[in-house]
Symmetry: C2
Subunit: 320 residues, 2 copies
């Protein structure tokens, strides 16, 4: 989803960091839903990055910038240990090794989409930039291992890596994915589309959000920033909005009215609650902010992005 939106953004801009784009190579395990139209050459590859020859083929033309978003999401990585490690860890390692195998002074900017799932309980109310990465899920473990790899390969001069820990992305468009965090989006998206949504946790649950548009902006900024400013610290927690579920619902009420809010059904699910209770609630992202990464300021803005980008700016249900 973020990858597709990034592709659209690059196509719209036609350039990255002030340099025009000649060629975009899109690789995914699945056929893309829609074809990207751009003013530059777009090549789509359906392949498994965790196979070394695939990674080699992808980097053979020595792209200057690589965005590595590939991921088995949290729920699936927890259910299928093999698949999670193979795609999330081995895929990243194959990519790094394919880059290393190229001789000469090839050293691409590699932007890696990490996750706040690298942080696990016990967590403070506000997590600082230097907080330890001790995940409590296989997904978070795989992301934390990739951060370590990226940092080491960067230190060794093989890539110019930047890992950005994305907040939970909301409001996600489309249908729910297998991420355990899916309800954070669906309690907003479904009512905005006149459909019922299920809320499995109490309204006091606080979490860390940014819009898909902010996520794309993070990726672009990570690709274009002077990486000398990062020094050895190549892993950055991205800014976001810390909001309770109650705050999300209040924002929904302000944007779409009480009828929309009425579509949310409370169906407490202890297993989801247990998982979510150990998740991050808020971050101090001073480092990323100082480096120019920007997210929304309020959850209402985040809903506004969904309405603009996914609903063409108008609400299917009656407003207040």
């Amino acid at each position: 989803m973020i990858g597709a939106k990034l592709g659209q953004q690059l196509a719209r801009a036609g350039s990255l960091g002030g340099r025009s784009i000649d060629h975009l190579h899109l690789a995914d395990i699945a056929e893309p839903g829609t074809q990207l139209t751009a003013g530059f050459e777009v090549e789509t590859v359906v392949a498994d990055l965790a196979r070394p020859e695939v990674a080699s083929r992808l980097v053979a033309e020595r792209p200057e910038t690589i965005f590595h978003l590939a991921a088995v999401v949290s729920g699936e990585a927890e259910e299928d240990l093999d698949k999670g490690y193979r795609v999330n860890l081995d895929g990243t390692r194959c990519l790094l090794e394919a880059i290393r195998a190229l001789d000469g002074d090839y050293r691409p900017r590699l932007v890696f989409a990490s996750s706040i799932a690298v942080f696990g309980a016990p967590l403070p109310d506000v997590i600082g930039d230097d907080f330890r990465t001790v995940p409590r899920t296989s997904y978070g473990t795989q992301k934390a291992m990739c951060e370590l790899l990226l940092s080491d390969y960067t230190r060794r001069g093989i890539v110019d890596g930047v890992a950005i820990r994305l907040p939970t992305i909301s409001v996600r468009p489309g249908t729910p994915n297998r991420a355990a965090s899916g309800f954070f989006s669906s309690i907003i998206r479904e009512p905005l589309n006149g459909r019922v949504a299920t809320l499995p946790v109490p309204e006091e649950i606080r979490h860390w959000h940014a819009s898909p548009r902010a996520a794309v902006a993070f990726l672009v900024h990570a690709a274009t920033i002077d990486s000398g400013l990062l020094g050895d610290e190549r892993c950055l927690t991205m800014p976001g909005v810390s909001v309770t579920v109650a705050g999300q619902i209040e924002a929904l009420r302000r944007v779409a009215g009480a009828d929309a809010v009425g579509l949310i059904r409370r169906e407490p699910d202890p297993s989801v609650l247990e998982m979510i209770a150990s998740w991050p609630r808020e971050f101090d992202t001073s480092r990323a902010s100082a480096l120019g990464f920007r997210a929304e300021e309020t959850y209402e803005e985040i809903i506004g992005v969904y309405v603009e980008d996914e609903l063409g700016g108008t609400l299917p249900v009656a407003g207040p």
Copy 2:
């Protein structure tokens, strides 16, 4: 070296955690220097753990306790990226996967020898138990990745893992290995044996030490402790002695006199200094101490262990 000493200790004790040992399987990439004699069956395997079939064969008999010490040391892991990742990371992963592949309720205690190299600059004077693991070497990266793997496989019930971050082990017997920290041992060992030693760094350099005997005791304690006491925190920094090079030399003087100290040649090496300057100096290991892990209290004790265990209790050079 630690593996051989652990084998000797197990042979002497004949038991582990109050239970008698039936069978000891020793696996190493190289033929052991001396054969272990014990009151139980000892099997020696020379094999490469990073080959999946080797790991499978090693765990086929379902050992109750596995000590995983295998490592390409820091200097070599920095020189040979392929070998370091293959042995230090893939070897550990193959072992975990081989255990997972066994059906039934097999869940061995897996004691993993990690390292304080998981911590990298910038470092505080005293590093606490919750300090972030951001290594600055490939060796430290590989150890940190293994800690993440071990924690995840433990959380998932595949192993009952305990990772112990060993201090720099001194006084190492024998000849220097390729660890960058080798001089910390050789400035003591060589003079004690009447030989000249080279000191490549200033005497103000402070570092974190424990004896080989303490390291073996850590491993045995990690193998026998009630792991329920650890909860989810499976990675523990081990206690040690924080001492400057000057303090080491003063301890040498007290143990072996001025003549021994006179055998240390100052030959500053900026490349060693640069590496060492970013190394840990001291830890607060409250967690491990509360769990009963014990090291020496002074560097003089550490020298005493070398004299007892390696020199039969007497000094080849004249005492003070």
